[in-house]
């Protein structure tokens, strides 16, 4: 029996079909957007369990947060989150000076050997649960933040969440701040939180310091 040759679809037909799908998809997306815009007050969207800082970020104030699982009891972590220990795990923090009355002055490394000063007041403490702070007018950068400690399930330790907000300032300080929080502010928070985790779980901040054949690197300093 002779084998039937199956005709391949005409390339033009295929292209037309592809274009049709694209038009349909775009139309559907537009319709969906209009539908959501036209939603009435009583059709309020359901409040979900997403952490609030992950929801729509339309505010001009930069808000970001990061959570990390740390295999230690909540009380230990709360106790370790003290300004004296910040320079151990916060990459850009040079020093934190206690000015009394829950106000502290932070000296932070900035590019070209410069430094930025933050003056923050702790506004609320809930034992073993959370710490809130807010900058004072003396601060170079207006900022506020919160660190939360919640029990992780099944004895896994603690979820530590760091939530920060700051007003990107204008002028010279603004330029420094922009470089201080390069592109994505979350990067710094994530790195610092991971260093805190390393310190609390292993007793040291992990380092890949080791030799290479690159003369620019020291065997005693971490590298990228």
């Amino acid at each position: 029996m002779p084998r039937h040759k199956t005709d391949l679809p005409d390339p033009l037909l295929l292209a037309a079909a592809g274009a049709g799908i694209a038009v349909l998809a775009t139309g559907a997306a537009l319709w969906q957007r209009r539908a959501s815009r036209g939603r009435r007050e009583e059709d309020e969207v359901i409040a979900t369990d997403a952490p609030h800082w992950t929801l729509g970020k339309a505010s001009p104030r930069a808000l970001f947060g990061k959570s990390v699982l740390i295999n230690r009891p909540r009380a230990d972590l709360y106790a370790a989150w003290t300004p004296e220990r910040f320079p151990e795990f916060m990459e850009n923090v040079v020093s934190v000076d206690d000015l009394g009355d829950d106000v502290s002055q932070w000296t932070i490394k900035a590019p070209a050997g410069r430094e930025v000063t933050l003056v923050n007041r702790i506004t609320e403490r809930i034992e073993d649960e959370s710490i809130y702070w807010q900058s004072t007018p003396a601060s170079d950068i207006a900022n506020s933040g919160e660190v939360r400690f919640t029990d992780a399930p099944a004895g896994r330790g603690t979820y530590v969440s760091l939530i920060l907000a700051y007003d990107p300032p204008a002028g010279k300080v603004g330029r420094i701040a922009a470089k201080l929080f390069p592109r994505e502010p979350e990067v710094q928070a994530r790195r610092d939180l991971h260093r805190f985790k390393q310190l609390m779980e292993t007793g040291e901040v992990t380092s890949n310091a080791s030799p290479s054949a690159r003369s620019s690197e020291s065997p005693a300093k971490p590298h990228i």
Partner: protein
């Protein structure tokens, strides 16, 4: 010190570099006495692994003598230790679950972003294997800094020679975990793709774990002869259609478990592999997965697939429908060396493993560049190379030609 460095694709050189230093309390420094070249070093050599930088010190299978300890290291100077290639803190959620290669602390904050982006989560740290795994200097060197030295290193009694225990660093536990992951039931038929060092240890492990028979697949006669020596039945894929042979050897149902000890650089001249080669060359695919495809199609329905072979990213033409419709169970991952090293050391002492037959060459560290070339180009003759720091350049010794069984 002298160290083997990666300088680019197919460029390996031995350079003089600074000595490592103790930087953290749990660190130790060892003087390397033996260090092997791994099959996965070939993926670096061939430029398949992203995140390598010119000047990186390579090598992740090594052992030596403790010469310096940090304040909270539990090691003592003079102790002989084998170093697991995975760097693990021992205290995070993953280490406590014995999933040491998933350690959440060993990849430092400076390097974790890249693999978080690529893999969804930061990978655990490893020695001498690119900046995705932490950017740690490797063990093909005279000295190495060992982080978390109170958790990883396996202390070796003096009556065991380097060659007996060196492979506890990677390929023995990797072959063992591959067989453990195959969930072998007594009497099972297990097929093993690739008779390189990991495949040879997977064969031995599968038999120790109760497999009735192991069928090994390769095309290098020396490697197939080693597989037979370790108790496997052997198939040369240049002589037969592997799927047909496996089906005919199992009454048509296929092997109960399939172990892919090949990874991302499959050999062979089947149509799919030639297309993979072209796509990889044109940077439109990251791997050649011919062996894995074949394993999925060959495996019996409801069977198990264990993947110790290394893959780096997105595979092309992955037979997902076949995997699902046949109901295969897949287990994979980098090796949790610290989980298995203790019991495997005991098994070596009891003579349960042949850890030396696969070594084809001992060579000076200084000859590393030549050895990488041989390892890459002459896989029949070179079945495992052990480098020795301190040997005079050129002092290479090869084992007796293996009798083809």
């Amino acid at each position: 010190m002298r160290a083997v460095t990666w300088q680019g694709r197919h460029k390996i050189s031995v350079e003089t570099v600074p000595d490592p230093e103790i930087v953290n309390p749990r660190d130790a420094i060892i003087r390397v006495t033996s260090t092997a070249i791994c099959g996965s070093d070939l993926h670096l050599y061939d430029g398949y692994i992203p995140g390598m930088r010119a000047g990186d010190i390579v090598g992740h299978e090594f052992m030596g003598e403790v010469v310096e300890t940090g304040a909270s290291s539990t090691l003592k100077r003079g102790q002989r230790v084998v170093i697991p290639f995975t760097i693990s803190c021992g205290q995070c959620f993953f280490c406590e679950k014995q999933q040491f290669s998933a350690c959440d602390n060993s990849n430092p904050s400076e390097t974790r972003n890249a693999s978080e982006l690529m893999m969804g989560h930061a990978m655990g740290g490893a020695f001498g294997y690119a900046h995705l795994t932490g950017g740690y200097a490797g063990g093909q060197a005279e000295y190495v800094r060992i982080p978390y030295s109170d958790v990883g290193p396996v202390i070796i009694p003096d009556d065991l020679a380097d060659d007996d225990v060196l492979f506890l660093s990677d390929i023995l536990p990797t072959g063992w975990q591959a067989a453990v992951n195959a969930d072998i039931e007594p009497g099972d038929t297990v097929a093993v793709w690739g008779c390189g060092p990991v495949g040879l240890f997977a064969i031995q492990s599968a038999l120790l774990l109760g497999a009735g028979r192991v069928i090994a697949i390769d095309h290098f006669p020396t490697r197939l002869a080693l597989a037979r020596k370790h108790g496997a039945e052997i198939l040369d894929y240049t002589q037969v259609d592997i799927r047909e042979a496996l089906a005919e050897m199992t009454g048509g149902i296929g092997p109960d478990a399939c172990i892919d000890c090949v990874g991302m650089e499959s050999h062979g001249f089947t149509a799919d592999n030639i297309l993979d080669q072209v796509k990889v060359k044109m940077l439109s695919s990251t791997e050649r997965i011919h062996a894995l495809r074949q394993a999925i199609l060959a495996c019996r329905k409801g069977g198990r697939l264990s993947i110790p072979g290394v893959y780096g990213g997105f595979a092309d033409k992955f037979p997902l429908g076949q995997l699902m419709e046949k109901g295969l169970t897949v287990k994979s991952g980098q090796t949790h060396v610290q989980r298995y090293a203790g019991e495997l050391l005991d098994m070596i002492r009891e003579g349960k493993f042949d850890t030396v037959s696969l070594i084809s060459h001992h060579a000076p560290l200084e000859d590393a560049a030549d050895m990488y070339r041989h390892w890459h180009d002459e896989q029949n003759l070179y079945t495992k190379i052990v480098l020795k720091p301190g040997l005079e350049k050129g002092a290479v010794s090869a084992r007796q030609e293996l009798q083809h069984a």
